[in-house]
Each structure stands twice: as structure tokens, then as C-alpha cells.
């Protein structure tokens, strides 16, 4: 096998405050797709950026070897770099939605790439731009080229961005999280586009935190944790027979039909921090010993391997989770929540139209649907934050949406909510203690030791130690914040918990923990859940019944497993078709 | 007249050229008949001639009037006018013109703020023949000659009065007079320009330049900032600068390229007037104590760098008859003041060291004008006096409000002290200051608020005779009595300190101390 297109050996990047990447090695051939996966902050983007010399002024990049098509990148000066960037290596930045200049048309951005690298005569630029857009799968390219980012949907923006990245026909395209924040259907299209590139012989470095996404088109997978590649090898091998404890946890965390009814998070523990050159995962690893904390085995750049002293093998065994189904839903029960024909439109545009739902005590109803389909609006109506234009909501048999706020206030504690962005739901000036205190006070716990005891209880309930009480939520991790939010919601002992995308901002592993927590609590407290997510896997995992929304309507609803096996509505079918699964049904 | 040539005259007269004259204030109104500001007179003296000219000795010389007779009862004045005088709009200056102007002044619709007062008990003007006018008054009115020598009783061409009567205040070409210069343009807030009147041939008797002015153009620049005036003078950007701050006088004198023209201001000195109508200053002892208890000498010297003379009389030495006897007659003497106050019963002292009488602190109210009206650092001088009197155990309060409040309190007789100077080259100014009828509430200026029979009698007598001896006698007595009664504390005689580039020659100053540019020229360097 001849020289690979890209050859990285011992790449390290430090910032004044962190070691973002440490001793990363990998290679990449033409027409090959290497996927780099790993949780947030694991160093994926920094790795990607340093391949085009844009790690930032404050970054200090070192590598034993950094070769691209026989070119020593490490030795390039600014001018030479400019020729490489966009010309031979195209980079699609992580934040697709803000990576196009909002003040210039999509066409202008693409043309810019053309002008800087190719000798396209002026009068033909427009034509080339059109071709590129077509290639990127953009419908009616003439129109789109003349439009500004804010006039384009997320998917279109991402496509335009890719078009500008491949404008000068680079040999390598780096796509950093190209599908995050996109609806599954759109996701599928983008992935297809990348597959095209690959087929045309372009090497692709695909970065994602979502195993399921990469499993579809990665030839090889490199799993990063704490700045290092902890495991890499052929995709199949990594997915089917993961060796590194972290990889295993990662894979276990992906909610899958098969995994329904069992815990997603593998047992982890809070170990002590490893040394700088120890295994970064040692802190969380159950198998970690002193050796792990002090040193890290090497990893050969080309062939598969695991960077672990205690590689595990064999199938992943998940624990059963406490049976949520144990709170069976009996027919003839008076529904806890009854939504009748509610509609809500903003400035004439319907956000929710004619939606009817009902939810029994202790039942968990999932709501899926693409962005803008009206999920949040529906949730806000149920919460009594938005009053519907038509229809009504009744709670526990009594009218709810119809009540004036004054009368609803005393009942509010029975319905609580968890939202996507927990931090935003905390007063920035209040520490955790005050957040809980306020909630408890409002639900009639008079101040004093009992209230404090109750606060501690709640924290225990969501698996946090009282140590977090004095801290400000902004100083906590995403997972911890969401736990606090849940604790606050539980403070008033609600019967219904409305969760709007509670995990979509979290890493898979953290998501797994939160999902386990929610299902656990539900079983324990007999909570009813209204669970909103765009992630079918997640919904499938937590809910008994599912309602599929599109354009403000519920197009299909039914018992979860049944619905997943045989969707009837065409939209639902499309939705499930485009759902990326970890294990391709071969 | 012999407005004395100022400073070393730079060689022989030079025709043509432009002279820039920087002044500190900008007239609110350019209508001499309306305005009461000195600056209006100062500037428009170059545009308007008067019937008579007042010379340095307080005597009167022919100007637009060849001669005049005054009836013995001083109720009618008859002027014989020159026949060759023309307004700059070509119309002739004649008896009708005089009548038109005086009548205009007397008309309430004109809202004259000073000229009307100068006309006193005006009764009317009679056109005897085209070149003779007879001005008559309801009572005998001696100061008229002096009044009629001021630009405020100057003459607009009847044509312009008819056509632009309402606009005369806004300056510019509409202000048509008979003077040596033509008011050609005015940029509010910046400058006013005057051009030579080539036909001018009626300068007052004895003027060094009998004919048209040498200068082609006179440019008057309004520079309210003293430092800016000084700066532009020293840097040669202006030729003559009005009202230099005393602080800079020395520097100007020291500068070989510059000369300093100093002239004591005529009329009433800057003095403090004591409200004898209310306690505590209704007690003469207290008044005299205050009068003797402040170290005027030192403060005036330090604050004005010896540029301003310390004053002994309410009347300026530049205005005859000045009571020389007063000089040095009431020196600073805190011991005496202390004694006087004790005698007056202000014997006890309170915690802050101020004197008290039956529990009441000895306090005098001396309202301070709004900063924008304060001239010559009088507020600072006041601070010095405040400090002196504190030593004496007298508390001086200096509340500063807006002008409305000031007028209400001071002119309403609610204050104890009031301070001002009054520029008018005529001893009759004493009438304004001390006559019982000159009530501030009615536009008078008698801030002593008492009607002292003798002062009233003498001031009336003075304005009802032209006999020099009598006038000298009464006016001298007035000055002395006012000081003896402690009704007034003369402070200083302010001086016109004008900086002048030595390239300027022939600049003269008339009775009021105002520069006259008719005979001035600029030599090219």
C-alpha cells in the first residue's frame, strides 16, 4: 500500500489553559472516510483545525509527522498554507448555521472560494457556483445562490457550506459535526452527500459525537477521549467488538430498540484525577489502577488498536433498569392530561393545529417531529404558558388552559417542566441551594432544617452530592445542571413532568445517565411524562406511546414498539427510514 | 476733542488697511436707542455721531451741532445743526432727523432700556427751521448735554427708521448713521465689520483727524474668553484687544510688539452699597465697622496686580468733580471696626466666632450674581472681604441664584449689600445712586434704600443747574456724605486696559474711555 494522503503522527495541541490534543496519530487514504468520534471537549475540532493550521493564535501545535500528499504541513508559511486551505483541504466548520457570512449571499461565499483558488473567468463564476450547488444537492440553485443565510434552512446552509468547501476540488474534506442540529431526514441527505464525495475519491475526515451517524459511512473510526485517540480500527470492528472501556460505554449509551428496558449507562465511578500523562479515562474507569493513572500505552498509527492497559472484549452487557412498565396503564383510567383540538398560530402561521392527546397517570407519552413541527409550542400550551387559540386542555379532569392565571397558580405545582437549556432556567445570581430553596418555599415547605433536609433528599434523588449546594449552576457540567433542573421540578411533587428536548444538548454518555435517571424516577414516583425529542431513539427508549408531529399536526400516534415496527403514515415511514442505526441490518 | 492720543504713536498716518478689534462681550441689541449695554455704545460710537462732544475735562464741544443755547430754567435746549452732514444712505441730517430719533426713543413701543432714561423728563422736540431744533423737558434737566453726547442718543437716518425700525437691533447695514464708519456686516456670535465712510468730514471740534478715517475696514471680533483675547493679541491675530484681564497686563507691557492703553473708567466706581433701610445695617456704627473692616488696599492690589486703582469715593477720579479730600480718609482699621461693633452692642460671640446681639448672629446677605454676569473677578474679591469680615465676627452670606431671584432680592431691598459700578461720564450718576426717588423697584439704582434728605436735595440741585461752582460744591458734598454715613464702600476704579499692537497709531479714547477708530491707522510691518 502506497503513502497515505494524510499522515499524522504524535499530534499535540496545547492552549495556555488546556492540553486540547495529546499525541494523536492516524492516516487517511484517498477515497477513504475516517470518522473521529468522542464526547464534547475531547479534542475533535482542535485536531481538525490544526490540520489546516487554524488551531488559533494561542494554540501551540507540535507533531512528529504532519504530512499531506507528501507535503510537510508543519513547515508551511502563511502563503503556502493559504494555497492548501480550501484549495487542497476543504474544512466544513462545526457551527454550520453560523459559518456563512450573514451579510453576504451564499453564492458570494462559494464564488470567494473559487476566486481564491481557481482561474475561473469572471463571467463563468456564476455558472460554476450553480454547478457546485447542484452537486451539493441544492434545489433551484439560481435562487439559492442569490439568497442570504437567514433565508436558507439549516440543511440548505449546510449544503451551501459544503459546496464552498469543495469548490476548488480539494483532495481532503474535513467535516466537523456536519449533521448536528439538523433533522434526521436532512441529516440523511447530508450524509448521502458526503458519501458522494467519498465515491469521487475525496478523502473524508468526518467528525461527530454521534456513533450512529458515522457508523453509516465511516471505513475506519477513531474514538477520542480527553484529547487522545483511545481506540481506532475498522468501523465494524470498533462498533461490534469495542475493546476500550470508554468505547464500550459510548456504544452502550446509544438508545436502541434492542436496549429498551435496560439501563443505557454502564457503571462508572468518580475516581481521582490521573496524572498528565496517565490515561485520561482513568477518572471514570471502573478498571483503572495506578498504572492507568500514570502512563498510557502507545498506539500504532495505521493498524487497529486500543490505548488501554485493560482492554475488555466480548458483548456489552447492560443492566436491566427498574421496570417503568411496572406502573401499568389501565384502560378506563381517567386521563391525567387531556388535550382537545388545540390550535395556536403566530402571526397567522399555525404552530399547532387541531392537536388532541391524552395522557394517563404514570404514563409516558413521547412526541417526535422535525424542528418547527410545533412540539415546544404544544408543550407550552400544556404547561399553561401559552393559551391556545382554539381547543382546551384539562388536567386531572378539571379545565386547565381555560383558567385565569390567578386560579391556575395554586395548581401549578402539579405540572412541572424540564427544558433543553437548564442553565437558562436558573437565575444567574442564585446558587443551587437558592434555586431549590425557592422551589421548596413555593410548595409550602416552611424554611428551616426540614426544608434543608428535603433539599438534600432531592439532590440524592437525582444522584448529586450536597457538595453542589453552594455552587453556581454555571460552574456545573451540562449533566449536573440537568439533574438540578430535575430536582427542582421534583420539589413540588408533580404528577406530570413535561420534558422538552431534555437531553439533546448532552453528550451520549451523559444523555444515557439522564435518561436512566428519568426512567428510574418515573418508575419510583409514578410520574407521568410528556417527553419531547427529535431523537427517535431516545423517544423510543423512554415512552410507552408515541405521537408523531408534522407541521403542527399529530400525523400518527400509537404504542411505541408497534409504531416503530410498522409505521403507517408516509412521513413516519420516511422519518424512521432516515434514522441512522448503530448496527446496519446486514 | 482731545481724546488723548494713546501710547506712543507709530509714526505718520497710513491710509487704507484693516484693523481687528477684539471685544469681550457681544451686544444683545445693536439698537443704540434700545440697548443699555456699554458694549453697544463702545462699538456703535464709530457709526453714530452726537450733537455735542464731551472732552476730557467734562467740557462740551460742537459736533453735529455748531452751537446751542440752554434756557435758564434748563427746560429747553436749542441746537443749531451743521448743514453739511449726510447719513451714509445719502439722506441729509437735519432737524427732522433729530426729532424723529428723539421721538422714537421716547416712544414706549421702542422699549428703550437706557436712552429713554437719558432723555429724562423729555417733553418733545420742535423743528424751528431745517437746521434748528428745540428740545424741551417737563422739569429742568441739566444732564442733557452729557446725555446727548453719548451714542445712545445718536441718530439713525429717518429713512432706515421708517423702513427697518423693527430690525435696527439686529445690526448690519440697516444701522445707518452719520459716523466715520458704515456698519456693513454682522455675523452673530463671531464678528461685525465696518467700512470707511469716505464722505465723513464732520469730526468733533479738535479731533486730530478732521476727515474720513484712514482705515478701509474695521473688523470687530467677539472673543468672550479672556485667555483667547490675550492669546490672539500676543500672537498678532488682532490689533487691539478690549478689556484685558489685569493678570495679563504686565505680560503685554513687557512685550515689545505691544502697548497697553489704560484709562480709568468714568462714572460710578465699583462700590458696595449698604442697605440702610433694614437691620442690621440700619445702624450707622455697623455700616462704618464693615466699611473700615475690610482690607481693600491689599486685596485690590493682589487681585488686579495694581492695574485697578483702589477707590475712596463712589465717583471715579475720571469724572469731575472728584472729591479729592476723601483719598486716604478712611483706611483699613479692624481695631476701630471692633470698637464700633461693640458700641453697637454686638459684643457676644457664638460657637463659630461670629458676633451676636441678644442671641441673633451678625449676618449680612450679599447675593452673588449668576456667574455669567460676574465681571472682573468680583466674586473672588468678595471672597476676600468675606474672609476679612469673618475675622471681625461678621458673617457674610453670598447666595447665588438665577438672575430673576437676584433681581427680586436685591432690587426688592431684601438684601443687605449690593455691589456694582455704573459707567457714565457725568456726576449726575450720583443722582441715580443716592437720590431718594431713584428707587430700585422702579428702575432706579439707589441700593441704600433710604431717602437721605440732604443727598436727595443735593442730587436734585446738581442736575438742575449748569453752574460749575454749584455743581462742584454739591457733588463733592454728596460723595463725602455718602461715605461718612457708611452708605457706600467704594472699592476700585476699574480701568479700560486695552492691549494694542504697536503697528496701530492714532487710536484715541473718548470721554467714556471707549476707543475711537476715526483717527487710527495700521502701519504695515
Amino acid at each position: 500500500m502506497n503513502e497515505p494522503l494524510l499522515n499524522v503522527e504524535g499530534l499535540s495541541v496545547r492552549f495556555p489553559e488546556t492540553r486540547a490534543v495529546r499525541d494523536v496519530s492516524f492516516t487517511l487514504d484517498r477515497g477513504e472516510c475516517l470518522a473521529v468520534v468522542g464526547e464534547s471537549g475531547s479534542g475533535k475540532s482542535v485536531t481538525a483545525r490544526s490540520l489546516v493550521g487554524l488551531a488559533g493564535d494561542r494554540a501551540e501545535v507540535t507533531a512528529r509527522r504532519l504530512e499531506f500528499a507528501g507535503l510537510d504541513l508543519a513547515s508551511l508559511d502563511e502563503k503556502a498554507w493559504r494555497r492548501v486551505r480550501g484549495g487542497r483541504i476543504g474544512l466544513v466548520l462545526q457551527d454550520a448555521l453560523v459559518s456563512l457570512d450573514p451579510l453576504r449571499t451564499a453564492g458570494a461565499e462559494i464564488a470567494e472560494a473559487l476566486r481564491t483558488h481557481t482561474k475561473v473567468p469572471r463571467d463563468q463564476v456564476g455558472e460554476r457556483v450553480r454547478e457546485l450547488l447542484v452537486r451539493a444537492g441544492v434545489p433551484e440553485p439560481e435562487v439559492r445562490a442569490g439568497q442570504y443565510p437567514h433565508q436558507l434552512s439549516g440543511g440548505l446552509r449546510q449544503r451551501a457550506l459544503i459546496a464552498s468547501a469543495i469548490a476548488a476540488g480539494p483532495e481532503l474534506v474535513i467535516a466537523d459535526e456536519p449533521t448536528t442540529a439538523l433533522d434526521v431526514t436532512v441529516q440523511a441527505q447530508i450524509l448521502a452527500l458526503i458519501e458522494e464525495l467519498k465515491k469521487d475519491g475525496t478523502a473524508v475526515l468526518l467528525i461527530s459525537h454521534d456513533l450512529a451517524v458515522v457508523s453509516r459511512l465511516a471505513d475506519r473510526i477513531a474514538v477520542m477521549y480527553g484529547g487522545t485517540v483511545v481506540e481506532h480500527g475498522p468501523a465494524r470492528q470498533v462498533l461490534d467488538d469495542p475493546r476500550h472501556p470508554y468505547t464500550r460505554a459510548l456504544i452502550a449509551a446509544v438508545p436502541e430498540p434492542s436496549g429498551r428496558g435496560s439501563l443505557l449507562s454502564l457503571p462508572a465511578h468518580e475516581g481521582k484525577e490521573p496524572d498528565p500523562d496517565g490515561c485520561p479515562y482513568a477518572a471514570r474507569c471502573v478498571l483503572a489502577d495506578d498504572r492507568c493513572r500514570t502512563s498510557l500505552p502507545a498506539l500504532a498509527p495505521r493498524e487497529a488498536g486500543t490505548r488501554c492497559w485493560h482492554p475488555v472484549s466480548g458483548p456489552i452487557t447492560r443492566e436491566r433498569r427498574p421496570q417503568a412498565e411496572a406502573s401499568p396503564v389501565r384502560d378506563g383510567d381517567t386521563p391525567l392530561l387531556e388535550v382537545r383540538e388545540v390550535s395556536k398560530s403566530y402571526r397567522g402561521r399555525p404552530a399547532v393545529s387541531g392537536v388532541s392527546l391524552s395522557l394517563l397517570p404514570g404514563e409516558s407519552l413521547g412526541i417526535v417531529g422535525e424542528s418547527g413541527s410545533g412540539k415546544t409550542t404544544l408543550a407550552r400550551i400544556v404547561l399553561g404558558l401559552v393559551s391556545p387559540d382554539e381547543g382546551s386542555v384539562s388536567f386531572a379532569g378539571v379545565p386547565w388552559s381555560a383558567l385565569p392565571e390567578r386560579r391556575r397558580r395554586p395548581l401549578r405545582h402539579r405540572v412541572q417542566a424540564i427544558v433543553q437549556d437548564p442553565l437558562g432556567s436558573f437565575d444567574p445570581r442564585h446558587p443551587v441551594s437558592r434555586v431549590l430553596d425557592e422551589a421548596l418555599a413555593l410548595t409550602g415547605h416552611e424554611r428551616g432544617p426540614r426544608r434543608r433536609a428535603r433539599a438534600a433528599e432531592l439532590l440524592a434523588l437525582v444522584g448529586l452530592s450536597p457538595a453542589v449546594l453552594p455552587r453556581s449552576p454555571s460552574s456545573l457540567s451540562g449533566g449536573q445542571r440537568q439533574r438540578i433542573a430535575i430536582a427542582r421540578a421534583l420539589a413540588s411533587e408533580p404528577e406530570l413532568l413535561v420534558c422538552d428536548e431534555p437531553v439533546s444538548a448532552l453528550d451520549v454518555s451523559v444523555q444515557a445517565q439522564i435518561l436512566d435517571l428519568l426512567t428510574g424516577l418515573r418508575a419510583r414516583l409514578g410520574l407521568a411524562l410528556l417527553f419531547i425529542s427529535h431523537d427517535l431513539g431516545v423517544v423510543h427508549h423512554v415512552s410507552d406511546r408515541v405521537a408523531v408531529m408534522k407541521d403542527g399536526r399529530v400525523v400518527e400516534t400509537g404504542e411505541v414498539t408497534a409504531l416503530f415496527q410498522s409505521p403507517s403514515h408516509p412521513y413516519t415511514k420516511e422519518l424512521f427510514a432516515s434514522l441512522p442505526a448503530l448496527h446496519r441490518v446486514s | 476733542g482731545e481724546g488723548e492720543a494713546a501710547g506712543p504713536v507709530a509714526d505718520a498716518p497710513v491710509k487704507g488697511g484693516e484693523l481687528t478689534f477684539a471685544v469681550d462681550t457681544e451686544p444683545v441689541s445693536f439698537d443704540v436707542h434700545v440697548s443699555q449695554q456699554d458694549i453697544t455704545g463702545t462699538i456703535l460710537r464709530n457709526v453714530f455721531d452726537s450733537l455735542v462732544h464731551q472732552d476730557g475735562q467734562g467740557g462740551f464741544q460742537p459736533w453735529l451741532a455748531e452751537s446751542w443755547e440752554v434756557a435758564d430754567d434748563l427746560k429747553t435746549y436749542t441746537f443749531k445743526l451743521r448743514k453739511d452732514v449726510k447719513f451714509t444712505d445719502g439722506t441729509a441730517f437735519d432737524a427732522e432727523a433729530v426729532k424723529a430719533n428723539f421721538d422714537r426713543i421716547a416712544d414706549p413701543a421702542t422699549k428703550s432700556q437706557l436712552a429713554a432714561t437719558l432723555l429724562g423728563p423729555y417733553d418733545g422736540t420742535e423743528v424751528v427751521d431745517p437746521h434748528t431744533v428745540k428740545v424741551s423737558f417737563k422739569q429742568s434737566f441739566a444732564p442733557f448735554l452729557q446725555a446727548v453726547s453719548t451714542p445712545y442718543l445718536g441718530f439713525y437716518s429717518p429713512k432706515t427708521i421708517k423702513e427697518n425700525g423693527a430690525k435696527l437691533g439686529s445690526g448690519g447695514a440697516v444701522d445707518v448713521g452719520t459716523g466715520p464708519f458704515v456698519f456693513s456686516a454682522y455675523t452673530k456670535g463671531q464678528n461685525a465689520t465696518f467700512t470707511r465712510n469716505p464722505d465723513y468730514a464732520w469730526a468733533p471740534k479738535g479731533a486730530t483727524n478732521a476727515g474720513a478715517p484712514y482705515l478701509d475696514k474695521l473688523n470687530i471680533r467677539f472673543l468672550p474668553e479672556a485667555s483667547v483675547r490675550v492669546g490672539s493679541l500676543t500672537s498678532g491675530q488682532v490689533h487691539v484687544s478690549f478689556a484685558l484681564p489685569p493678570a495679563d497686563a504686565k505680560a503685554v507691557e513687557g512685550n515689545s510688539k505691544l502697548a497697553l492703553d489704560r484709562r480709568d473708567a468714568p462714572g460710578a466706581n465699583y462700590s458696595i452699597y449698604l442697605n440702610a433701610a433694614k437691620a442690621p445695617l440700619n445702624d450707622e456704627k455697623v455700616r462704618k465697622a464693615i466699611q473700615r473692616g475690610i482690607d481693600i488696599d491689599t486685596h485690590v492690589k493682589t487681585l488686579y496686580f495694581g492695574e485697578y486703582k483702589r477707590a475712596w469715593s463712589p465717583l471715579s477720579p475720571a469724572t469731575a468733580p472728584y472729591a479729592k479730600a476723601l483719598d486716604g480718609s478712611w483706611p483699613y482699621d479692624q481695631a476701630l471696626s471692633g470698637k464700633l461693633l461693640d458700641e453697637a452692642g454686638w459684643t457676644t460671640r457664638d460657637s463659630e466666632g461670629y458676633r451676636t446681639k441678644d442671641g441673633k448672629r451678625l449676618t449680612v446677605d450679599w447675593p452673588l450674581l449668576p456667574a455669567s454676569f460676574i465681571r472682573e473677578k468680583r466674586d473672588v474679591l468678595g471672597q476676600a472681604f468675606q474672609a476679612d469680615l469673618k475675622k471681625l465676627g461678621v458673617e457674610v452670606k453670598r447666595p447665588q441664584g438665577d438672575i430673576g431671584t437676584y433681581i427680586a432680592t436685591v432690587y426688592g431691598g431684601k438684601a443687605d449689600l449690593a455691589d456694582y459700578s455704573w459707567a457714565r461720564a457725568e456726576p449726575d450718576v450720583l443722582w441715580l445712586l443716592f437720590n431718594g426717588a431713584s428707587k430700585p423697584a422702579e428702575g432706579g439704582q439707589n441700593a441704600t434704600f433710604i431717602d437721605d434728605p440732604e443727598l436727595t436735595e443735593w442730587t436734585d440741585k446738581g442736575r438742575s443747574t449748569l453752574d460749575k461752582a454749584t455743581r462742584d460744591d454739591v457733588y463733592t458734598k454728596i460723595q463725602q456724605r455718602a461715605v461718612e454715613l457708611g452708605l457706600v464702600i467704594p472699592v476700585y476704579t476699574s480701568a479700560f486696559t486695552n492691549g494694542r499692537s504697536r503697528t496701530v497709531g492714532g487710536l484715541e479714547y473718548e470721554a467714556n474711555g471707549w476707543p475711537v477708530f476715526q483717527g487710527a491707522w495700521v502701519t504695515k510691518k
Binding site: 395554586p410 395548581l411 401549578r412 454555571s474 | 485667555s227 492690589k301 468675606q386
Partner: protein
């Protein structure tokens, strides 16, 4: 009608360097001390005359020289601190308090009140700050207190606007929503969450407003609306000193320096405070 950004927008700028910050706080400390206990810095009396030594330049016994009446300039500058700061602080406090209430009222009292109050504000905003102050002074007349009110009036609109904007942000915020969900009473919400969170940025901007106020005050005393002598006030001293620029530079330079130094120090401190603040909220 939209109104262009207010000058406050500028202070987002930067976080000053450590030493600068240190210097700033030292200066502030000194100023506060001087305002509280001028006696600590000088044994002299600011009003005591010494005609003998009038108009002397800086010297060992008179560090800043002496003025027209031989008063020690250093002493006067020190004693001038209190009145000078009082104008600034007074104006600022007034403006902040009034602005905060105004802004809150606009944000919370519903649509109509909002429109009405904002229109009124637009009018004030449409006028240059100095013009507003002049107008107020014309009505009230000069003097220290009126000066304060006038300046406060000219600062108020900016603050009111800011508070309103902040309050509206809070009203749409997630944490107010969760307060609603917990059934908290609107009034409680207003004082637990809206007011404190809206106030934060305001107070930081205050430090800037202080600078503006002090400069405005000195400008207005220059124009003749100043404080009452003989009480030494920097603005007044500065505007008196200007006549002696050629002959006695110190009379103007030292009060001028005092003003500038104060303003610089306070805004440096204020900016660092703001930098910290913005960091905290953007975390």
C-alpha cells in the same frame, strides 16, 4: 421609531490590565479619603488668605502653588473633592434611581404604559444631553443642587432605556418561566428576579455615568451654572484658572488634572467590573 445606540454601548470594550486596575483603585481610594477627611491631606484652610504669596507657582510649601488671593491651591483641590464628587454622585444616584423605576415601569406595566413612557423617553433622547441640562438649568436656575438635577435628567433616559431592555430580557428568560411554573406571584417575581437582574448592568454603567456627570458638571460651571464660591469646586476652579493660562498655568492645570484623573480612574474600575459582569452572564 428606532433610536440609535446609546453611548453606553461603548463600554463593553475591554478588561484593563492588572497594574492599570491597581492604579485606578488606589486613585479612587485617595479621592474617597480626600472627600471624607480632607484634613488628612493638608493642615491648611481652603479659604485662608495669604495675599503676600498670591499667585506663586508650585513650591515645596505650596505643592500646587497659590491662587489670586494667596490661598493654597493644593488645599483647595483637596477640599474641592467633596463638592465635585457630590455633584457627580448626586446626579448619578438620582439618574440611576429614577431611570431604574422608569424602565421597570415601562417593562412591567404592560403595553400601553410601555408605549407612552418610551415615547416620552424618545423625546428626551432626541435632545443632546447638554441641551437637556441647559434647559433644566434655565428653568431651575443655577446652583449646585439644580446642577445635579439637570445632569441627572440628561443621564436618565439612557438608564431608563437600559433597564427596560434588561427587564424585558429577564421577562422572556427561562428562569422567570420556571418561577411562573412554580406558581410564584408576579410581584415576587418582579423583585426576586426581574429587578436584581436588570439592575446588574445598570450599576456597572453607572461608573461610566459618573465620569460623564463629573465632566458635564465641570462643563456647566465653565458656562456659568456652577457651584457657589468660595466653596472650592474643581469645575469652578478650572474655569477660573483658564484666564491665567498664560500667567499662572497651575491654576487651571491641577484642577483639570484632578477631574481627568478621577474620571479615568473610575471608568477603568468600572470597565473591569463590567468585563467581569459580562463574563459572568455569558458563561
Amino acid at each position: 421609531m428606532t433610536t440609535p445606540t446609546l453611548p453606553e454601548a461603548r463600554w463593553k470594550a475591554w478588561r484593563p490590565a492588572r497594574p492599570a486596575l491597581l492604579a485606578a483603585w488606589t486613585v479612587i481610594a485617595l479621592i474617597v479619603l480626600a472627600a471624607a477627611f480632607p484634613g488628612l491631606f493638608t493642615g491648611r484652610d481652603p479659604l485662608e488668605l495669604e495675599p503676600a504669596v498670591a499667585m506663586r507657582g508650585p513650591s515645596p510649601e505650596h505643592w500646587f502653588g497659590t491662587d489670586q488671593l494667596g490661598r493654597d491651591l493644593f488645599t483647595r483641590v483637596v477640599y474641592g473633592t467633596r463638592p465635585s464628587l457630590l455633584v457627580g454622585l448626586g446626579a448619578l444616584t438620582l439618574a440611576l434611581a429614577a431611570g431604574a423605576l422608569y424602565g421597570l415601569a415601562a417593562a412591567l406595566l404592560g403595553r400601553f404604559a410601555d408605549v407612552a413612557l418610551m415615547r416620552l423617553l424618545d423625546v428626551l433622547l432626541a435632545l443632546p444631553q447638554l441641551l437637556v441640562a441647559l434647559l433644566a438649568l434655565t428653568v431651575l436656575g443655577s446652583g449646585q443642587v439644580n446642577l445635579m438635577i439637570a445632569i441627572a435628567l440628561s443621564l436618565l433616559p439612557a438608564y431608563a432605556r437600559l433597564v427596560r431592555a434588561e427587564a424585558l430580557v429577564v421577562r422572556r428568560s427561562g428562569y422567570l418561566e420556571s418561577a411562573v411554573l412554580l406558581g410564584q406571584h408576579p410581584l415576587v417575581q418582579a423583585f426576586r428576579h426581574v429587578l436584581p437582574n436588570a439592575l446588574g448592568p445598570l450599576l456597572v454603567l453607572g461608573t461610566v455615568g459618573f465620569g460623564m456627570a463629573v465632566i458635564a458638571a465641570s462643563g456647566l460651571s465653565f458656562l456659568g451654572f456652577g457651584a457657589e464660591p468660595p466653596s472650592p469646586e474643581w469645575g469652578v476652579m478650572l474655569s477660573e484658572g483658564r484666564d491665567y493660562l498664560q500667567t499662572a498655568w497651575w491654576l487651571g492645570v491641577f484642577p483639570g488634572a484632578a477631574i481627568t484623573l478621577t474620571v479615568v480612574a473610575v471608568s477603568v474600575a468600572g470597565r473591569s467590573a463590567q468585563a467581569r459582569f459580562t463574563r459572568r452572564t455569558t458563561l
